[in-house]
């Protein structure tokens, strides 16, 4: 398990509306809507929780195996990083 610690980039802005996170990448003026799992993960990224912590959170909150959660969370974090919404500390 990777020990990446995601941290939100200063260039992002977000708000939870009706249970879904709306995230703006301000450098691209791009708006994204996150699903339920994405909203939980995004809301839990605080610069302190590690990727493993986020996987555990998803496993506790949804009916999903740890392996599947690890794949989904890893892919989601990669997407957020590619969109410059998060950066990683290790």
């Amino acid at each position: 398990m990777t020990t990446r610690i995601p941290k939100r980039q200063r260039s992002s802005a977000s708000r939870v509306i009706d249970g879904a996170a709306v995230v703006i990448q301000t450098k691209l003026s791009d708006v994204a809507l996150l699903n339920e799992v994405g909203t939980l993960v995004w809301g839990s990224i605080d610069g302190a929780r590690s990727e493993a912590d986020l996987v555990a959170l998803v496993t506790e909150s949804f009916e999903v195996t740890p392996d599947q959660a690890a794949r989904d969370v890893g892919a989601f974090l990669d997407e957020l990083a590619a969109a410059s919404l998060v950066e990683f500390a290790t």
């Binding site: 260039s11 992002s12 708000r15 509306i17 703006i24 301000t26 708006v31």
Partner: protein, 241 residues
């Protein structure tokens, strides 16, 4: 807010290498070169740059200066649009790419990108007064009701009124073959509003404000989706609904 127009020529002070670089890097839109508007925030200061435009706006004092050249008359309007959008935000107001048409003392506000139907819906308004067919200021009054306020941008000729006109309906416009008016849920409404709020989602502070305002407006008065054909009967439907 002061705008100075200077003669265009070699070494024009309204031009900048950054604006040329941004233009060269931007994709063509409808086969034409796009002129990106660069807004950089440092503390309370915004530096606004585009082709034939250099300016600054101090959000703390509400002051600013724009330098535009005779080569591009739209540059001055762009500068003022940014100023209005950014200075309204702390007061809970925002610019919306929208038309607004009066029905009695209330405003029907229809919004969306170019081609959505703002000019078409305004053009079907008949004798109803039009606030604008392109850009409207929205702001809550003392009672908390969202009001539409005319701007100088694409003024539709409706009489000015202090505090504006209460919004009866906020509608995301789409052209179609028959009239349909469907309420959007709060999330969808907020997302549609955000997409029609210019000059606010390019820095984190204003983007947070825009999110909050879009969320609030989608909650009250709410957002509907209006699909309509080019037929004046759309107004009978709107006023009867």
């Amino acid at each position: 807010m002061q705008v100075t127009v200077v003669d265009h020529g070699p070494g024009c002070p309204a031009d900048s290498p950054a604006a040329y670089r941004a233009m060269q890097a931007a994709p063509f839109v409808d086969g034409l070169p796009d002129y990106p508007l660069l807004v950089e925030r440092t503390g309370s200061r915004l530096d606004v740059t585009s082709l034939h435009l250099r300016g600054w706006i101090d959000l703390a004092t509400g002051r600013g200066e724009g330098l535009c050249c005779t080569h591009d008359q739209g540059a001055a309007e762009n500068f003022l649009r940014v100023a209005v959008a950014r200075l309204l935000l702390p007061a809970g107001g925002f610019l919306l790419h929208a038309c607004a048409v009066l029905s009695g003392s209330e405003a029907h506000v229809g919004f969306g990108p170019s081609g959505a139907g703002k000019t078409t819906l305004s053009g079907l308004a008949g004798s109803r007064a039009v606030l604008s067919d392109d850009l409207v200021v929205l702001r809550r009054d003392e009672s908390g009701r969202l009001c539409a306020i005319p701007t100088l941008f694409r003024d539709g000729g409706a009489p000015p009124r202090e505090g504006g006109y209460p919004v009866r309906r906020l509608m995301r416009l789409r052209k179609g073959s028959r009239v349909e008016l469907c309420p959007l849920d709060r999330l969808a409404g907020a997302r549609e509003l955000l997409a029609a709020m210019p000059y606010l989602v390019d820095d984190p502070d204003s983007a947070e404000g825009a999110l909050a305002l879009a969320d609030a407006a989608s909650g009250s008065p709410g957002v509907s989706e209006l699909t309509f054909p080019i037929d004046p009967s759309v107004w009978a439907t709107l006023e009867g609904a």
